[in-house]
């Protein structure tokens, strides 16, 4: 029935529009009874309604419009002339049509509307009972009006009888024609425009914005001509407004996209034997039509996914104490220059433990990594490539198109996606999409003599350091540059290094663009900051896009091409994957625990020059054991120690350092709680320090809690709990409780 509903809906909208026009036309027709254009227009409207109502099986509507059409056909063909009774009959017919439409809209059926009187009345006019012959309103076109008043009920038989009187319209009618269209357009207040035309306009406006940038720059340089500056200023304003206006013409309500979804949901629900109520909020939310197109597939996928995997079957729902009918809510709204689209179901929710188990099974994450992740972060794993939670591959989902593709598509258009879920209560997928892609505000920067654009949406702030400050304030965590931005360590990435070019900044100044991507902050070191401007995004060939560094190109004010940096891709490339995924959840948490704990730490080296601090309170002994004593149990390494079997954790591998030259002797830190112990293999014991942990930052790699300054060196803080779990997943289950507070206190 849904497809039908959709057609009926369209039919109603169209018919209502047409009927309004019809009323005006009929009244106008009374003034100019001879107007063929008006008659033809009215005829077409009624004819369309008749056709569709027949198709949709609205019998009475069809009957009414059928007689109306007959009458109009004869009027149009000049076999009858408009008289007030004719107009009355036609208006009465339109009223009944309206009533019928209202009834269809309200109830889906034709209801109790009685069409008989109107049909009789129109037929009577047709039959000439109301004396339509008096031609008092037909100034110049009486010739063939009277003779044909009688043909009973088969007016279609007549059409060929009379050749069309070609020269019929009189001059005054021609004049009327000229004014008519204008009045209609104003009355309609909206017009249909070819999409290609809009695209062309958009492109032209893009060029205009570029030219404006050029002019404004030139005008700024020509201080001697104040008039030019004034004109440039006005041009600037007008171009901006024009750009905004044209952009608006391309905006379409998201309902265009959503209108297809009830059918999808219904069919899917039927196929899966689930009853689903689809709720849509914010249908009128608008976004650029090109984006609308790109968001279609990801959104459909999310909706299918929600019905397939999100919502439970009616039986399961009843057992869980929920109504049998599941509710799927689509919500759209504007927020901070973006469009947010949510797909929420009130289903079973996603079990983080199941996701975690699956991630381990698929080899996407190790248990140790998972142990350090928050539930929210674990949920985001569903967007990882190679992940699918569907237990069985159904013909609904699991067709090889996974959530990772959804994520990729959304990110390709500069959007983001996240998932929230409460077990037993439901799941929400939230898309954030930019309003438009074509023109974006950007910061232009220079690196090695080339100019690049950085979209403002990724830019948080700019930091400029002169040589002296740069020398003292840019520090490094074993090779990785960091800058203390208001106390927190900001990882620095040199754009020249990323691009493999030679920076031409040799005076020691450091310019940092603080960027945010995928919830992670980092500082991009550039040579120079040029300006901020609106840039028009031009596509790149797939070959250059594949480099994963540039999202597009743009033409700068001087006509040169500049590449637009793909900040998301850059972040993915230069920041470790785990850090990114954990960032959102943990960065803030760690940052806020700027600790002043007075604690003793064991500083160890793990190879590659990296130093890691382990709270001494966790450590029971430092040992040296022979490498040959290490034995395998399953996939784990163990060592015999004082008559017990100790799981072995190689800290360098755990933290991804791979410094490890294999030596015959292993330096081991033994950590015990209760009767269980693990052996942590390190490369060397460096020191035991007794210090305030002064600064902690959010530079957290997997397995680390952050980094701290210890005696003016940056040392990474080991997440002991995660490390222990990596060696012995059951450790904390059996460990006596007192170890927990101790850990919490230490870290």
């Amino acid at each position: 029935m849904d497809e039908m509903d959709e057609i009926v809906q369209e039919f109603l909208v169209e018919s209502h529009e047409n009927l309004d026009q019809l009323d005006r036309d009929l009244v106008a027709l009374e003034q100019q009874p001879g107007s063929r254009d008006l008659l033809a227009s009215i005829f077409r409207t009624i004819h369309t309604i008749k056709g569709t109502s027949g198709f949709l099986a609205f019998g009475r509507l069809e009957a009414v419009t059928h007689v109306g059409e007959n009458l109009l056909a004869r009027l149009r063909d000049g076999k009858m002339v408009m008289t007030p009774p004719t107009t009355d009959a036609l208006l009465a017919m339109v009223d009944v049509v309206r009533e019928l439409l209202a009834s269809i809209e309200a109830t889906g059926g034709e209801g109790e509307v009685d069409v008989e009187p109107v049909v009789r009345r129109v037929t009577a006019v047709l039959d000439g009972e109301e004396q339509p012959a008096a031609p008092q309103h037909a100034p110049a076109e009486t010739p063939e009006a009277q003779p044909e008043a009688q043909p009973k009920a088969q007016p279609e038989a007549q059409p060929e009888a009379q050749p069309e009187p070609v020269a019929e319209p009189v001059p005054e009618l021609v004049a009327e024609h000229a004014t008519e269209p204008a009045r209609r357009n104003v009355a309609d207040s909206s017009i249909r425009v070819d999409v290609d035309l809009l695209d062309t306009l958009m492109r032209l406006v893009g060029e205009l914005v570029l030219t404006r940038n050029q002019i404004v720059r030139q005008a700024g340089a020509q201080a001697a001509v104040p008039e030019l500056a004034g004109a440039a200023q006005r041009l600037n304003l007008i171009a901006s407004e024009l750009q905004e206006g044209v952009m608006k013409t391309r905006m379409q309500p998201i309902d265009h996209l959503w209108s297809k979804l009830p059918r999808v949901v219904r069919d899917l629900g039927a196929a899966l034997d689930k009853s689903v109520e689809l709720v849509m909020e914010g249908r009128e939310t608008e976004l650029d039509r090109s984006l609308l197109e790109s968001v279609k597939d990801p959104l459909t996928h999310l909706v299918r996914n929600a019905v397939d995997h999100g919502l439970e079957s009616a039986a399961e729902r009843l057992t869980a104490g929920k109504p049998a009918q599941g509710v799927l809510t689509l919500r759209a709204y504007h927020e901070g220059g973006q469009v947010v689209v949510e797909v929420c179901d009130d289903g079973a929710g996603i079990d983080p433990d199941r996701i975690a188990a699956k991630a381990v099974e698929r080899g996407l994450r190790t248990p140790a990594q998972l142990a350090t992740m928050t539930h929210a972060d674990v949920l985001q794993l569903i967007f990882t490539a190679g992940f699918s939670t569907a237990a069985a591959v159904t013909n609904v989902s699991g067709r090889g198109v996974g959530m990772d593709v959804v994520k990729t598509n959304i990110e390709a258009m500069g959007g983001t996606i996240e998932v929230e879920s409460v077990l037993g209560r439901g799941t929400t997928c939230r898309l954030r999409i930019p309003l438009t892609l074509a023109i974006v505000p950007a910061l232009t920067v220079e690196c090695a003599g080339d100019r690049y654009a950085i979209p403002q949406v990724s830019l948080l702030e700019l930091v400029a350091l002169d040589a002296d400050r740069a020398a003292s304030e840019v520090e490094d965590v074993n090779g990785a540059s960091v800058y203390r931005l208001r106390g927190a360590l900001l990882p620095l990435v040199r754009l020249a290094d990323v691009l493999g070019v030679e920076s031409d900044r040799s005076d020691g100044h450091v310019l940092i663009a603080v960027l945010q991507a995928e919830g992670k902050r980092f500082g991009l070191v550039i040579d120079r900051v040029l300006s901020t401007e609106e840039i028009v995004v031009k596509p790149l060939t797939s070959r250059i896009k594949e480099l994963g560094t540039y999202s597009g190109a743009t033409i700068l004010g001087d006509g040169r091409v500049a590449l637009i940096l793909d900040v998301q891709a850059l972040a993915r490339r230069v920041l470790s994957a785990e850090a990114l995924e954990r960032a959102t959840g943990q960065a803030t948490a760690v940052e806020t625990t700027v600790a002043s704990d007075h604690l003793r730490m064991l500083v160890v080296g793990i190879g590659g020059g990296r130093r890691v601090a382990i709270p001494l309170s966790s450590v029971t002994r430092l040992e040296s054991i022979a490498a040959s004593a290490v034995e395998q149990v399953g996939s784990r390494e163990v060592v015999q120690y004082r008559g017990a079997i100790l799981p072995l954790l190689r800290l360098d591998r755990h933290l991804g350092a791979f410094g490890g030259q294999d030596s015959d002797e292993l330096t081991v830190v033994v950590y015990s709680a209760g009767d269980r112990s693990v052996a942590i293999v390190v490369e060397e014991i460096v020191d035991i320090v007794d210090e305030d942990a002064q600064v902690r930052s959010d530079i957290d790699d997997h397995g680390l809690l952050g980094s701290a300054l210890v005696r003016d060196r940056i040392v990474e803080l080991l997440d002991v709990r995660a490390a222990i779990l990596a060696a012995d997943p059951g450790f904390h289950d059996h460990a006596p409780l007192e170890s927990a507070p101790e850990l919490a206190e230490a870290l």
Partner: protein, 139 residues
């Protein structure tokens, strides 16, 4: 069967591409280099508001790179609807060649160039090398 080719030179050799594929010829366009891109991509140029990538044919054909003072010309061709600019030393002329003048490349031609050269048209005073545009741009 006669074919009309637009000719250009690279290292004093004459190459030709089908005239139908050529959109226009440009000179002295500033190019924006693309770090990390394959060396055959010689940068991006602005062609009346459209951004095109330029392909360095010398690199593609294994010839010596341009020196700093050489100013290559650009031949804009359309490959599957998309314009691409080719860097060439100089532009030649439009010549008509006959099918019977054509010979496939000699067996001794090896290396990268073999994939890009369809064969040679034996003109009276020299050989005109027919370039496989699709491959030259894609490789």
């Amino acid at each position: 069967m006669s074919t009309r080719l637009v000719t250009f030179t690279l290292d004093d050799r004459v190459y030709g591409v089908d005239v139908g594929a050529v959109q226009e010829v440009l000179r002295g366009q500033p190019r924006t280099r693309i770090p990390l891109a394959p060396t055959s991509v010689a940068g991006l140029i602005n062609l009346r508001g459209q951004v095109l990538s330029a392909v360095d044919l010398r690199e593609q054909l294994g010839l010596a790179a341009y020196s700093a003072d050489q100013e290559p010309m650009l031949v804009v061709i359309r490959v599957s609807g998309e314009p691409v600019a080719l860097l060439v030393d100089s532009i030649g002329s439009v010549v008509d060649v006959e099918a019977d003048q054509f010979e496939p490349p000699p067996d001794t031609l090896a290396g990268v160039a073999r994939d890009l050269i369809l064969g040679a048209y034996k003109l009276e005073d020299q050989l005109l090398l027919a370039l496989d545009v699709d491959r030259a741009v894609a490789a």
